[in-house]
Amino acid sequence: MAGVRVGNRIIGADAPVTVGWENLPKVEGGAFKRAFFTWFQPVTFFGFLLFWYYAPNEWAVASTGIAIGIVFKLVLLGLEWVNPRHRSWQLTWKELVTDLFYVGLGYTVLRIVDQFIGSDAIIGMVQNNFDLAKVAWFTGLPLLLQAFLISFIFDFGQYWMHRGMHNWYPLWLTHAPHHYITQLNINKGAVGNPVELFLIGLGIGGFFDFLPRAFLLAGTFGLAVSTYQHINTRFNTPRWWRFLFNTTEHHSVHHSQDYEATRSNYAGTWIVIDRMFGTCVDGEAELLGMEGGRRMHIREVMHYPFTEAWKTIKAKLGRGASMPETAVPAE
């Protein structure tokens, strides 16, 4: 496979990757269908922003955000059914149960862990020891600017955490199981080893409880942009959107079976961060995963970082020198 030169790299030498927006298929069908899948993303995005901007105080609370999030994801599951990007990514019963298992872990066990050593503990410390009056300069900024800054700064941190996972072996071991997914669906973002989910979850989740409106507005970027990373729906995404924001096309390149392609598109929401650091590849891929598309069992996802670390340590100490190395670093 020849691949395509993107900057200094050859993309698509190991597995097929379509590079360049002009080479991607468009939504097919009648005028209504084409208009719907062209306008759905920007209309819902600006709709959510308007809602959180003008919602009465009694509505602008965490529980409203959770309810909207659940309903929106159900709508997106419906869109996956109606207009799938790839038939080979169609959601099956087994995939749905698997994905929801990881989502469920995030809402239950990881919440408990977070209370002691994760985001909740950090937030509690901030609430108890930090004088909010000192950040009055920030909370006095226009709401939309606050929301943009919260979202962008958080995603900037996530970009480097994610890039670190692809370049530093111990972090890679926690992230590798997520790269064994072989198709993209709405809840696939939750699939991975709990250690990684915990690291990624060191975010703004807990802030919702005491939170000003700007954080709810910032949550819109997560819900109405970042969620599309893992969707199996074909959209005619606007040019400005795909320049600024991450899309399922970008993320499919990141998950492709091509090694070089996986080392791109690290941002969760703002793909423009990848453009800033030269790691953006515009395009899409259908063949996803590792080891030729081997689907990893839940059991293996759970123990992989620990067993692989153990194998590596044993090999380094010389006792398991003949053991084949199964975790390819930084893939």
């Binding site: 003008y54 019963w93 209370q115 005491f210 598309g293 069992h297």
Partner: protein
């Protein structure tokens, strides 16, 4: 196969006509037994030839076994039509009503889904236990600190709206009412765990009916020579 290996339901040979006696009342949880009529005029070998391509999937081993087929799957691909059933056997049999393809399929994943509601109820109970522990810790800490805490208590800053937002009509933030700041801390709750337990119980029922129906449809189509 050794005697100890036979003790495991996962390593025992799957046979359509001989279910394990001691598990027969519960193995419907992870086992599907069904049959599909073989079109008239088709021989046993031809029927198996038509069904065999369903097993031409990655990480799948199968072998002809007299008038039947046995297969096992390591890590089936997501779109494998038999991805839910990691093991199974199929046999063509002559019955009073004509030739049928009789099969028995075994699914670890279905058993996993069956158990998930219990697991999540357990997570709910764990959440409540942790909440109790934290409450006891907080009360003990409060007692120890006593009056000190009152001195440290400070007013929450009042958030102000930027003039741009005032102009655009965004609602002004409200000052928290007395005692509200305490109640705004997230209280540990088992609700999410119980909701997921309910979802998985529902999904098990869906899968237990849907997946056998899909497999039956696949076999019927293959035997009819479609697709």
């Amino acid at each position: 196969m050794s005697g100890t290996a036979i003790a495991s339901p996962w390593t025992q040979p799957v046979s359509p006509e001989k279910p394990r006696v001691n598990l027969r009342f519960i193995d419907w949880i992870w086992t599907v037994r069904d049959e599909v009529p073989v079109p008239e005029g088709l021989s046993t070998a031809e029927a198996l030839e038509r069904v065999a391509p369903v097993l031409d999937e990655p990480d799948t081993q199968y072998q002809r076994d007299g008038e039947g087929l046995r297969y096992t799957k390591g890590s089936p691909a997501a779109q494998d039509p038999l991805s839910v059933f990691e093991k199974g056997s199929l046999r063509v049999e002559d019955t009073a009503g004509g030739m049928v393809l009789r099969y028995r399929l075994v699914s670890r994943f279905m058993l996993f889904c069956f158990i998930l509601p219990l697991v999540f109820v357990g997570f709910g109970q764990l959440t409540l236990a942790v909440a109790e522990y934290q409450k006891a810790q907080a009360e003990a800490k409060e007692k120890a600190e006593g009056a000190k805490k009152d001195e440290k208590k400070k007013d929450e800053p009042v958030l102000t709206l930027n003039p741009v937002d005032k102009f655009l009509g965004a609602p002004a933030p409200e000052k928290p009412k007395d005692g509200e700041s305490k109640s705004r801390k997230r209280k540990p709750s088992a609700t999410a765990a119980y909701v997921f337990a309910g979802i998985f119980a529902f999904l098990y029922l869906v899968g237990r009916f849907l997946e056998p129906w899909l497999v039956r449809r696949t076999f019927r189509r293959k035997l009819a020579g479609e697709g």
